[in-house]
Amino acid sequence: MMWYFLMSDAFTFGAFLISYGTIRFSVNHWADPNHVFNAFPFAGHANLPLAFVSLMTFILIFSSVTMVLAVHEGHKMNRKGVEKYMVLTILGGLAFLGCQAWEWTHLITGDHAVLVNGQIEHWGTTVSKNPWGPEVLFNGKEVATPGPIAFGGYFFGITGFHGFHVFSGVIINLVMLIKTRLGHFDQRGHYEMIEKAGLYWHFVDLVWVFVFLCFYLI
């Protein structure tokens, strides 16, 4: 059953990402991810393209591994093992959500000089403002002009939708942990429910792999 739900969700995310690709390739200038996403927490203004999002990718991959290990322990009917790996998976999910929250905050509260109607304003990246447009010469310096408005909507919309899936996945994993602790699966005689929760969690990781590809690499 979970597989069928995941198929429908895959098409939903697929539709979002493909429409993003269509719009992105239909304009002459799009924000360069290496310039938009070059910040790292506690690193000040250091230029570290792709560094933070790579960390997020590894966190999610690692939490997927701990999830598989939890399922593996479930096959052996090893309750302690399942608990241990579920805790690690939940921590991984929370870490990812924390990182995404930082990324969003950094973007929205960012400060970028934009030439608007002959004046320099300072914009963050939001759903209605895109400071990553083509650069022009203004008073002898290169200054950005507003970029395609779709950028914010797509970025926050898709990563938000994905983040919502991570959040619900963490909740599901928490419920699984509690049920494991209470001995429900020992009573039932099998840990199949952990395996189904695992499918959802791996799906969330898989979507992130494609979000990472579409927004940060191509």
């Binding site: 290496n34 250091a46 096959h75 009917m77 898989l206 191509i218």
Partner: protein, 146 residues
């Protein structure tokens, strides 16, 4: 390893599960290696754009490589982590065959997007195609400004 003598009647098929976690960790390292490779290519694309004369075909080739690497990652996650590779063939096909719609989906829509860009640049096809405006930054680091 704990032996459970009572197998729940809800289980109709108890899979022969390899008792080691070696396969799982091996897949983790493989996924990590592919990710590092993707990042290296991403940084290569970044450096090409910083350079004087960005070679568009090279960038396209790199982007193609990155897409293939991502599909490889997807294969490993679905087949080994989600255990689809251990399911019966009909189940595998139930998942894979509908997903093949994505091949058309992606091709058609990216083709459309590209067509819209051409129409934009040629005033709906009434003007000759002008060269796409190069909006690449010169070799000035963005972080040198506030």
């Amino acid at each position: 390893m704990s032996q459970h003598t009572v197998i729940s009647p809800e289980i109709s098929f108890a899979p022969e599960h390899a008792s080691g976690t070696k396969r799982i960790w091996r897949t983790f390292w493989l996924l990590s290696a592919i990710t590092v490779l993707e990042l290296a290519i991403g940084l290569a694309i970044y450096n090409i754009h910083k350079g004087a004369n960005p070679n568009a075909s090279l960038v396209l080739a790199f982007k193609g490589m990155v897409c293939i690497l991502t599909i490889a990652k997807a294969y490993y996650i679905v087949s080994i982590f989600m255990h689809l590779g251990d399911e019966i063939r009909n189940m595998i096909m139930t998942i894979i065959v509908p997903l093949c719609l994505f091949i058309w989906f992606i091709t058609a829509f990216l083709w459309d997007g590209n067509s819209w860009k051409n129409l934009r640049n040629t005033d709906g096809g009434s003007k000759p195609a002008q060269t796409e405006q190069q909006h690449h930054l010169p070799a000035v680091e963005k972080d040198s400004k506030k």
